[in-house]
C-alpha cells in the first residue's frame, strides 16, 4: 500500500496500457511490432495482478506468483513467435502481416 496513491490510479494506468497494446496489435503491419504490442498487453495485466495483491490482500502472495508465471509464459511465447517469424521471413522474404492470409475462405 503506497500512501497517497489510491488503487484506481494504478488501474487506470494499466487499462490504458492494455488498450494501447490492443490498438497497436490491430494497427501495425509488421509481425515483430505486433509482438511488441502483445508484450505491452501482458505487462499491463502483470501490473494489475501485482497491484491488486498489494492493495486488497497484503498478506498473501498469489498475485505476485501469478505475475511470475505470466512472465515465464511470455518469454516462452515470444521465443516461439520469433522462430515462426524467422521461418516466414525465409519463405516470403518480408514479414508483412498481409502476406500471411492463407486461413481464409
Amino acid at each position: 500500500m503506497i500512501q497517497g496513491i489510491p488503487l484506481e490510479h494504478f488501474l487506470v494506468v494499466s487499462t490504458i496500457m492494455f488498450f494501447i497494446g490492443v490498438c497497436g496489435f490491430i494497427i501495425r503491419r509488421n509481425l515483430i511490432t505486433m509482438l511488441m504490442a502483445i508484450e505491452l498487453i501482458l505487462n499491463s495485466v502483470n501490473i494489475n495482478f501485482v497491484v491488486f495483491n498489494r492493495y486488497l490482500y497484503p498478506d498473501q502472495l498469489q498475485g505476485q506468483f501469478f505475475s511470475l508465471f505470466i512472465v515465464g509464459i511470455a518469454a516462452a511465447e515470444a521465443s516461439v513467435a520469433i522462430a515462426l517469424i524467422i521461418n516466414i521471413y525465409r519463405n516470403m522474404k518480408n514479414i508483412e502481416v498481409e502476406n500471411v492470409n492463407e486461413m481464409k475462405f
Binding site: V50, Y55, Y57, L61, Q62, G72, A83
Partner: protein, 172 residues
Amino acid sequence: MNVFMFYMFSGIILICSLLSITTRRILRAAVYLLCVLLATAGLYFMLNYQFMAAVQLTLYAGGIVVLIIFSILLTHHITHRFKHPDITKLLMGIGSAVVGIGLVLTTILSHSFHAGTTPELPVDMTVIGNQLLSTGKNGYVLPFELISILLLAAMIAAIVIAKKEKNKNSEI
C-alpha cells in the same frame, strides 16, 4: 515523493507505449518498449516487490527485448521505415481502443475497492522460495513444474521451427 514517482513512472509508461506503437522506425519501437518495461519495473520497486521487479528486468528487459532486437536485425534493413497503416485498420484499432477504455474505466471506477486491512507480509526471497516449492496451502510447486515443462516445449519448438532445412540435392 511517492506520488511524484508514481506519476513519473506512469507518464513514462503511457507515453512510451504510445510511441512504441506509432513510430515508423522499427528499432525505435523496440527501444520504447524497453523503456516501458523499465518503468514497470520501477513501479514494482515502489510497491515493495523487489523480486518481481528483478525478474521483470532480467527476463523482460534483458531477455525478450534482446530477442526482439536480434530478430529485427535478422529480418529487416535497419533503416527501413514503415508505411502508414491504412485507414480501415486505423479506425478499427482506435475505435476498439477508445470504446474499450471507456467501458472498462467506467466499470472499474464505479466499483469501490476496499483496501485490505491485514498487516503487510514482508516479502523476501525466503518466503518466496518456500512458497514456490511447497506442496501445502499456498504452495506453487505444481505450476512451477508445469512452467518448466512449458519452457522445455517452447525451446524445442523454437529450435525445430527455426532450423534451416537441409538441401535435398546436396552435392558431394
